[in-house]
């Protein structure tokens, strides 16, 4: 490696006063601030940057920019860093990827020896026999996985996201993009300009003094027009209604940031990407595209070689030749426009030594620069529905006429749209910017008119300005894709033109099939360098034209985006009741139940159960869904939602209800209390609260908009506390004076409103999920902590203690209450859960009525179907608690076993001192006393008995009615 840094050059972007030391494969090197990793390495004389994926061939610089497929490197713990783009930093530890044991001598090059057989897709054709050896083959193949190394243990970093609503987003900060942004800004639009490179100016930056002057003038105009300029940023994708993903990369590989922008108008000014030329040896280090050579020489003052052949089909190639000569390189100019062409790049080992031309001449050279043509990166336009169309005269794809889509909300300008002088591009850019601003004004007007909360608009809608831009021209360009020899088409994927032709012959003759068979265009640049050559080779192979073959679909993102940026800061809402801090202080074991954090227990759930059964306990049930229902038609609504009847429910009473969906499947359950003639408080399950509210609104708004009823979610308005246990009345009596709690005055399944611990407007209902005498208090949430503390303070002598979710689960199972979603599933209809008593088929209507009618009465012309049945089950061994979801089996045909059900809930009951379960079993096995076989997760069979009643404990309900 001999140094290749040139003396100071005008326009160089390096700061020679700020040298930076770094390492490359462990070796200490240095560069300057402003260098990219690749330019610093090239300046140090490095020629080989990676090994190719399949054949492990040495690879050098191709484009010296973000899209360079050969210069992906590992930097510290970051894989696949674009060495041609990432700026050098002090103490950076960079290393090559895909090289083992070293870049200079790569053991896997051996595959090249067998390369004869390693055509694209070879792996589909071998390694099939013997079958048992395939896993071993697979491990060997896996060693060839390309890419860098990720450390899954590396510390996560915080990425910010933001939303933006610009009038105009300009993708691309070259001359046309800058001009468009400035013109749009001058016309009053809020403009964001997004430039992929580290500075705006596009190719002007490496295009001599006049180019640089023009770039800074254009940039200054954009800044003066108030344009928000983002550099080292990419518009990664465009979706419906100009929803854009803009990714801002950060210096030093810092956290990227995602901006989600709703742009009124998108201007695509992404410029052109230079296309490699396909010929034998075109992937040899030393073969470079003209833009790569010019960037190296002009931006970073690096001499890309000492003796160059410049194969040029256009002005950019001619300029490269001039630049190289100015940099002291001996240049042989091969003008493609005269019909001369390159057929091979030859040399030994890693070096280029000779260039072979079509006329048979051989030119000594260590650098071959090709300028064979351009590819328009139309990706963003394609995402907007604009198709690329091939123009054989210009030998490249263009966006379909007229480069406008979706009511003019997407425009294009610059090289992607056509050719011309700098003045022509700037003038087209300005016209595009003015058009974009005018269109944005129209769309902004429409948005404001339509948006309920926007400021009123008085004037008429600004007319949708027609596109009267003078189109850019299209220059004639030789159609150069593939020479007479075969070469590399996809450098990332090691796919050659011969691979593509063979694939076509094998029947993979459309562009999508050939892409999948060979993996061409699927590498790091996602086809930006490779697609058009792939299409051209395929067209030739199949005897069709490039237009007929067409291109593959460009998929987002335009440039790869880190998962960190996409994820941003995770928003995971947490809901807590007003008692949360008290629970924490009391040492709760928390559990996540949906978004809620709840106390699972406070130490010993079994003791909590015993305390409720013996004394009194209090539990925070605030997450229970609660809906305030008011209006003259409230009763009709309840009748529609629930299976049972509500007309005769007295004011001051509560009733249990079950809701089914229209297919008869159980949706939710809960109790609802009648607070007044037209006023109910409905409770739902905690997990179903949101869905039930939407379900009700759907019925009200779409089926019964005439009903006079208002439904308001009030879950969070109340802290809900269940006071349960034989001593609950005594406890509550100490804190209540305006409600008569005597069993005669306040019966089971009644509701009262009163004052608890000095807090007025509490709703109290006497219900018993735990099976004990209990009162559910709904206290205005702000007063929740006060009431909770008062209950604990007032009941010390009664043994009051808080209990958690687990104790409640045990007690509800002792009582045989099912839980929707656990003991029922997505097919459980009401009769399965034993709810026939609740289903009132004589009601005019309720949700699920027809299905439940047929389930109970039988379908017209059919019998009632055999359903599963929910039953209480007790294992014969009282100490054995079958894990929930264990299967229940019965003898099947031929000595086999057949699944007939499953355990849906199971616990050890401290009250009964035995295991208890709920289970779903086939309807012909549910009789009391039936012996069942439960299969444990270990495979052991356990006997269990079906019980007569769902309730294992106190089936008569004497305790809760007491």
């Amino acid at each position: 490696m001999s140094p290749q840094r040139l003396p100071a050059r005008p326009g160089e972007v390096i700061d020679r006063r700020r040298p930076l030391s770094f390492t490359w494969n462990g070796r200490a090197l240095s560069g300057f601030a402003g260098d990219t990793i690749v330019s610093a390495l090239a300046a140090s004389g490095c020629r080989v940057f990676s090994r190719s994926m399949k054949y492990h061939r040495p690879r050098g610089i191709l484009t010296a920019d973000y899209w360079d497929p050969n210069t992906l490197v590992q930097v510290g713990d970051e894989p696949n860093v674009r060495g041609g783009h990432r700026l050098l930093e002090a103490h950076m530890a960079a290393s090559a990827q895909n090289a083992w044991p070293s870049l200079r001598w790569d053991a896997k090059t051996l595959t090249a020896l067998g390369g004869r057989a390693l055509s694209a897709g070879f792996y589909y054709k071998t390694f099939m026999r013997p079958r048992w050896l395939w896993p071993t083959y697979e491990k060997v193949l896996a060693r060839f996985a390309p890419g860098g190394v990720i450390d899954p243990e590396s510390a996560p970093r915080r990425h910010d996201k933001r939303y933006a609503h610009p009038d105009v987003v300009v993708a691309g900060g070259g001359p046309a993009g800058l001009a468009a942004a400035a013109a749009a800004g001058q016309a009053g639009a809020a403009v964001m300009l997004v430039e992929h490179e580290h500075a705006v100016g596009g190719h002007l930056r490496w295009d001599g003094a006049s180019g640089r002057a023009a770039a800074s003038e254009l940039a200054e105009a954009a800044r003066a027009a108030g344009v928000e300029i983002l550099t080292d940023a990419t518009v990664a994708g465009r979706w419906e209604d100009n929803w854009l993903a803009i990714v801002e990369r950060a210096a030093g590989g810092g956290p990227e940031r995602l901006i989600k922008a709703r742009a009124k108008v998108l201007v695509v000014a992404a410029g052109l990407i230079e296309r490699p030329y396909v010929f034998a040896g075109n992937d040899r280090p030393g073969v470079m595209l003209s833009q790569g050579a010019r960037r190296l020489a002009n931006l970073w003052a690096v001499r890309p070689g000492s003796r160059a052949v410049v194969f040029s089909a256009n002005a950019a190639g001619d300029a490269a030749a001039a630049d190289l000569e100015a940099a002291g390189v001996a240049v042989e100019h091969v003008d493609a426009r005269t019909g001369r062409t390159v057929t091979a790049a030859e040399g030994r080992r890693n070096a280029l030594e000779r260039v072979v031309l079509s006329d048979g001449s051989r030119l000594e050279a260590d650098l071959l620069v090709t300028a064979a043509g351009w590819t328009a990166p139309t990706s963003l336009l394609n995402m907007a529905g604009v198709r690329p169309c091939y123009d054989p005269t210009a030998a490249r794809f263009f966006p379909a006429e007229p480069g406008v889509s979706e009511a003019g909300a997407v425009l294009s300008t610059g090289g992607i749209s056509g050719d011309g002088t700098l003045e022509a591009h700037v003038s087209h850019g300005e016209a595009t910017g003015r058009l974009a601003a005018a269109r944005a004004a129209t769309l902004a007007h429409r948005l404001r008119v339509a948006t309920a909360w926007a400021a009123p608009v008085n004037g008429p809608e600004p007319p949708l300005v027609p596109d009267e831009r003078t189109p850019l021209g299209r220059h004639r360009h030789p159609a150069l894709f593939c020479s007479s020899t075969d070469g590399m088409v996809d450098f990332s994927e090691d796919v050659s033109s011969r691979d593509l032709r063979n694939a076509a012959a094998e029947g993979f003759d459309s562009v999508e099939l050939v892409k999948r068979w060979t993996t061409a265009t699927m590498g790091s640049a996602q086809g930006k360098l490779e697609t058009v050559n792939t299409v051209a080779v395929l067209a030739e192979a199949t005897g069709s034209t490039i237009s007929e073959v067409g291109t593959t679909t460009w998929r987002p993102p335009f440039a790869p985006v880190t998962l960190g940026a996409l994820a941003g800061r995770p928003f995971e809402p947490v809901r807590v009741s007003s008692l949360h801090d008290l629970h924490v202080a009391a040492g709760m074991a928390p559990i996540s139940a949906g978004q809620w954090i709840r106390p699972e227990h406070y130490g010993e759930p079994q003791a909590e159960v015993r305390n409720v059964r013996a004394n009194v306990g209090i539990i925070d049930v605030s997450p229970l869904g609660k809906l305030d229902i008011q209006g003259p038609d409230a009763t009709d609504l309840l009748s529609l939602l629930y299976l049972n009847k509500w007309r005769r429910l007295a004011v001051g009473s509560v009733r249990y209800g079950v809701m089914c969906a229209e297919d008869g499947v159980i949706l939710d359950d809960g109790v609802t209390g009648r607070l007044g003639e037209d006023h109910y408080l409905m409770s739902t399950t905690s997990s179903g609260a949101g869905a039930v509210e939407v379900w009700i609104q759907n019925w009200l708004q779409t089926e019964h908009p005439d009903w006079r009823v208002r439904v308001t979610p009030v879950t969070d308005a109340f802290t809900s506390i269940n006071v349960a246990g034989p001593r609950s009345r005594t406890l509550l009596e100490r804190l209540t004076d305006d409600v008569d709690l005597s069993p005669e005055a306040f019966k089971y399944m009644q509701v009262r409103r009163g004052t608890v611990a000095g807090v007025a407007s509490c709703v109290m209902w006497r219900i018993g999920f735990t099976g004990e005498l209990s009162y559910e208090l709904h206290v205005p949430a702000g007063h929740g902590p006060h009431v909770w503390s008062a209950l604990l303070a007032a009941g010390g002598d009664l043994g009051v203690a808080p209990f958690g979710l687990e104790a409640q689960r045990v007690m509800r199972l002792e009582k045989g209450h099912f839980i929707v979603g656990q003991d029922t599933d997505a097919l459980t209809k009401a009769p399965t859960a034993g709810l026939e008593w609740l289903i009132k088929l004589d009601k005019e209507d309720f949700c699920g009525l027809p299905e439940l009618r047929w389930a109970l009465d039988g379908e017209p012309g059919g019998a009632p179907e055999a359903l599963q049945r929910l039953v209480a089950v007790q294992p014969t061994d009282p100490a054995y608690v079958p894990p929930e979801a264990c299967q229940i089996v019965a003898a099947g045909p031929g000595g086999t076993e057949r699944i007939i059900g499953r355990i849906t809930s199971s616990r050890y009951s401290p009250t009964l001192e035995r295991s208890i379960c709920l289970a779903q079993v086939e309807a012909d096995h549910p009789g009391a006393g039936t012996q069942l076989t439960v299969v444990d997760v270990s495979g052991r069979r356990h006997r269990a008995t079906v019980m007569a009643d769902h309730a294992h404990f106190d089936p008569e309900g004497g305790r809760l009615r007491g």
Partner: protein, 193 residues
Amino acid sequence: MAEGPELAGPLTGGEASGAGWRLSDESATPKLLAYESFEAAGAVQRHLGVGFGAAATNGAGALVCGVRPDEWLLLGERTGSLPGVTGVVTVDLTHGLALFRLSGPAAPEVLAAVCSIDTAEAMFPDGAVCGASVARVACSLVRNDVAGERSYLMVSPRSSGRYLFESVRDAGARQPPDRAPSAPARPGTAPPN
């Protein structure tokens, strides 16, 4: 029963601030939800003077917010100065909702990190109301400037309040983010009225 200090918001801190923004907990404010009358169509809207998407201060000093069609949230009122017509349902949500105020010139940028609503002057002026997700919590968002200073009210279910407060506070603490926009925020396109 006195409205004791326990009514003050679900948060312990109650206040946070940073460069150009201030977040405060105003959850103790009385909040009354009122619906349009069943019987006298439009009576409540005529009386309150604002429709869906708008907010205004009424004679009693309460901020009347049209949070949904035919639904108003009255902030600062418990009983409500509603018209004397029948068929008007009201629900006291003082305890059910958290209420935070985000103020200051940087408030729009803080909001832009957690909410997709376009807060440009023309799109969401003072007195605008909309339903929106803020840090994935369903909120009513109200622009309610105080003495000429940008100010937004966020109304969320009480149980999400603490999370919401912390999320907005954290978003504010990251302002300005690592790389601030290179140009000041400009007003959106405002065609001549």
